[in-house]
Symmetry: C2
Subunit: 115 residues, 2 copies
């Protein structure tokens, strides 16, 4: 059993091609002994985004704060704000973008293989 | 790809023995096509608690609002408040309790077998 606050977790700039102004924090994962999945938090600065990509792992998301968009490859835009949940299925193309003037902060849970 | 707000999700009173004043909402799970795990939200009214129990499935938690406690079977109490994360390992005895005057609301992610 373990508890953490976000400000205790190291911040890592997302270096993946196609990302801008994105920071990742691995809050709970394999190093904590979590056997099946990992809970990460992404912070996108205003104008920031994650890569537009797809992969075999699903995402379960919760928006902690800010205003954002989740875009699919059909051009559909899902607006997200504090308190919203999202699900990205395996192999769905997706991109998270900050659509506001403050940081857009969201939880992203994935299977441990995609930690 | 799917988004939801909490107020769109049906509320179910937790009937499990040892629970009091606890409501569960299955926000994202098998019915949504999530292949590996499920994201639920529990709301404990003031004085409310979940059962003191253990099981093979781990919990990953995020506190949305309120003040609470996560108790283990060694008598240790972990204080939790908005913005905190928690991990309960498989087979760890645990209980969530509201320790404040407002609702204690938290996310609980589990493997789909424990949905």
């Amino acid at each position: 059993m373990k508890t953490k606050r976000l400000d205790e977790v190291p911040r890592e700039t997302v270096q993946m091609a196609g990302a801008r102004g994105a920071v990742k924090q691995l809050v709970l994962g394999q190093v904590d002994g979590v056997p099946n999945f990992s809970m990460r938090v992404f912070t996108l600065e205003p104008g920031g985004f994650t890569p537009c990509h797809s992969h075999a792992s699903e995402h379960l998301n919760y928006v902690i704060s800010g205003q954002g968009e989740l875009r699919d490859d059909d051009g559909k835009v899902h607006r997200l704000s504090s308190g919203d949940f999202a699900f990205v299925a395996p192999h769905e193309t997706h991109q998270f973008c900050n659509a506001g003037d403050d940081a857009f902060v969201f939880i992203c849970v994935v299977p441990k293989q995609y930690e």
